[in-house]
């Protein structure tokens, strides 16, 4: 349970980190941010980087901020930054304060980072789900310059992304929700703080009794979190009632390609998809 030997590099800037990564990536150099997934993988010898380029030494990468109509989350923003909803982040901040409580445990949230979670791309990443529901853009830096990737083009199956090996995820841009949006979140896991078996994050607009806009995100069920268009279609123009929510849940259950493992067959996860969507929608209008 000890990591294999590696070299340690303190970059002087993000550009320096990108240059160092470009130099060493073929030998196995990696970026170290919060380390709350990477270091356990190193202890288990699932990951054995030749060198860690430690972003933690860089200043000014920790505080999320508003840029126009988006919330920008830089490379070193810790999960714990979202424990208390910043009033400036409005509905989006309150939604993230609800979601963050489900990410691992309190001490892990002190170190783990938002961008690290997206780069790691675990199917049960709460932030990958959040990024999907908000329609995030990911800002990548390499020696070739910067580019932005929409979240829909980011996840490439479980634990895999479309990031080029020499790119660093330096910030995530999250379009803010309108202040009339109602949100709901439901996650089921075996133990407090454990990985989600299934979770849903929803954001809906309701005028009178009618749902006028809907986003339904599902995580932990398939190999990557995503929005379920079939469930959203069942909601729009319909009354915000348990019957409508059940139809949306059924629509999702009909289309998801649920993962299975030794203790959780795909049928169970498919069923769970319906449950978490119904509960998240009920919470949104409560």
């Amino acid at each position: 349970m000890k990591p294999a030997p590696f070299a340690y590099y303190r970059p002087t800037s993000l550009e320096d980190a990108a240059a160092r990564l470009a130099e060493g990536v073929d030998d196995g150099a990696m970026i170290l941010a919060g380390g709350q997934s990477l270091v356990p993988m190193m202890a288990l010898r699932v990951a054995y980087p030749s060198e860690l380029i430690d972003l933690n030494v860089l200043p000014d990468l920790g505080t999320p901020f508003i840029d126009g109509t988006a919330l920008v989350v830089p490379a070193l923003t810790r999960h714990a930054s979202f424990h208390k909803a910043d009033p400036a982040f409005g509905v989006t901040g309150r939604m993230m304060a609800e979601v963050v409580r489900h990410i691992a445990h309190y001490p892990i949230r002190q170190r783990g980072t938002f961008c690290g979670s997206l780069a790691h791309a675990d199917p049960s990443s709460e932030w990958a789900l959040t990024a999907n529901v908000l329609g995030a853009e990911l800002e990548l830096l390499s020696t070739r310059g910067t580019r932005r990737v929409p979240i829909a083009d980011w996840c490439d199956g479980a634990m895999s992304t479309t990031r080029e090996p020499d790119e660093i995820l330096v910030a995530t841009h999250l379009p803010l929700l309108s202040e009339t949006t109602r949100t709901g979140f439901c996650e089921i896991s075996r133990r407090a703080g454990d990985f989600a078996l299934g979770m849903a994050l929803v954001a809906i607009e309701v005028q009178g009794d009618t749902i006028t806009a809907a986003r339904v995100g599902l995580g932990g069920i398939e190999d990557a979190p995503r929005r379920i268009a079939e469930a959203e279609a069942e909601l729009i123009g319909q009354p915000a009632t348990p019957d409508t929510f059940a139809k949306a849940a059924d629509a999702a259950m009909a289309v998801v390609e649920a993962m299975g493992d030794a203790t959780t067959p795909p049928e169970y996860r498919r069923d769970l998809a319906g449950t978490v969507i119904r509960r998240a929608l009920a919470q949104a209008i409560a």
Binding site: M1, Y8, V39, P40, A43, L52, R101, H105, P107, R111
Partner: protein, 164 residues
């Protein structure tokens, strides 16, 4: 370089000049190089919480940080809680509430609670209980730990001095 480098760790206010390879975790450096064996290692991959310490005030898993990352930080371990022979209020509450049996997880729980209450003295009882789910204890069934932690929280609310 994968070779050892010289760093100084500041633990409970005292500097420790040590020579460590980058792969050495902060937990191992505290135990093996600083001689502070109060910090325990259970799972070594961030699940059990036995190695919880505070770094710059935040309770963190010392098995998920490397020692080289902690240079310059204010590191606090269980050895820093008591003032000579006088236990901290939190430690005393652990004894009075029988919040430990074998004691293996205790340093991690103490630092988790101490760090949390210093960071957020305004948390609710329910939030504190949820935070206690961060660490594993196989002896007590948690009820007694929750009681001790809540007394520490009450103490933090009613005194101007730190809870522990």
């Amino acid at each position: 370089m994968t070779d050892k480098t010289k760093i100084t760790l500041t633990v409970n206010g005292t500097g420790h000049a040590i020579d460590v390879a980058p792969r050495k975790t902060l937990a191992d450096a505290l135990r093996e190089d600083c001689g502070l064996t109060g910090t325990h290692l259970g799972c070594e991959h961030g699940v059990c919480g036995a190695c919880t310490i505070t770094v710059d005030g935040a309770p963190v898993r010392s098995c998920l940080m490397f020692a080289v990352q902690a240079e310059g930080a204010d590191i606090r371990t269980v050895e820093g809680l008591a003032n000579g022979p006088d236990l901290s209020p939190l430690q005393q509450f652990f004894i009075e509430e029988h919040a430990l049996q074998c004691g293996f997880c205790t340093p991690g729980f103490l630092m988790l609670i101490d760090g949390t209450l210093k960071q957020s003295p305004d948390i609710t009882d329910d939030e504190l209980t949820e935070i206690l789910s961060s660490n594993l204890c196989r002896c007590t069934g948690y009820r007694n730990i929750i009681r001790a932690a809540r007394r520490a929280l009450d103490h933090a609310r009613t005194t101007t001095e730190p809870a522990a």
